[in-house]
Symmetry: C2
Subunit: 140 residues, 2 copies
DNA sequence: ACAGTTATTTGAGTGAATCAAGTAATTCCT
DNA sequence: AGGAATTACTTGATTCACTCAAATAACTGT
């Protein structure tokens, strides 16, 4: 379990509850991935392969080094969850795509990761709108 | 930069903005730690040493294996940010405490991690209360 | 065709995390 | 009091995420 990105000092209740939310979210994500024997990073990459795409695009979207993606994809490939085919348009590049089994695991992950759904579901539609508006404003 | 604990599918706007929040929060935490050449885990542990305490308590609070704490504390000790003294009451145990330099770095970290403060600060006091109430309800 | 750029991989290194096993000191039981 | 069980922590082995620097190959523009 990853250590929480904890509150050193929470100077308001809103900050404290924000931290709680982040911590619970992150742990739920990790737990859902673990149910399927995936690391959070693997679940993340798998979840972004709805269409086949290149390594570079993944690295850019996820804000990490390309070699990090290489490793994660190699492991997903070893698990039989993705394939890496040469890109016919550009022979330097590779196209990553989920296998059928990858689709299934990804779907099961989406089902297992209920946290956001459940949390939002505790709110009425009006409250959901309010929350959305408040968080958007808070995010700037 | 850690990969985001991404949304596989966001079935509502509230869920999507929740994910955004978590992602931005986590990245800000990591960035603040990096400014002080700390890993997120190191910043986390350092932030929980307002009073001297044992390794076991840290492990329990942070929900990880004790040996993980040992490693992190060893590194913090090597950086001169914490000390590990034998517990006079129980010679099996060790008491971890921040050094003055640890206090300073921890304080600078708290200053550098502005995200929660800033985000909440964009809201009026009323809105902050609303947000707190909504998130509490969502957390169940 | 040649130089420069781009896509990806490889290799080396750090750190987080877990598990299993070990050590030492405490507690509990009779 | 004495021995067994428990507790607190460390060590060692392993896996994975992550970064950086360097290598390889293939593309692009002139």
């Amino acid at each position: 379990m990853a250590l929480p990105n904890g509150p050193v000092t929470a100077s308001s209740e809103a900050e404290a509850v924000l931290f709680d939310l982040v911590d619970v979210y992150d742990r739920a994500y990790e737990a859902a991935a673990a149910e399927l024997s995936l690391s959070p990073a693997q679940a993340c990459v798998l979840g972004r392969l709805d269409e086949r795409r290149g390594m570079g695009g993944l690295a850019e979207e996820l804000g990490c080094d390309a070699s990090n993606i290489t490793q994660i994809v190699v492991r997903l490939e070893a698990l039989g969850l993705v394939t890496r085919e040469p890109n016919p348009r550009d022979r330097r590049a590779r196209l990553v795509a989920r296998t059928p089994r990858g689709d299934e695991i990804n779907h099961r992950f989406a089902t297992a990761f209920t946290f956001a759904r459940t949390a939002v579901g505790r709110l009425s539609p009006d409250e959901q709108d309010q929350l959305t508006a408040l968080l958007r404003k808070a995010l700037g």
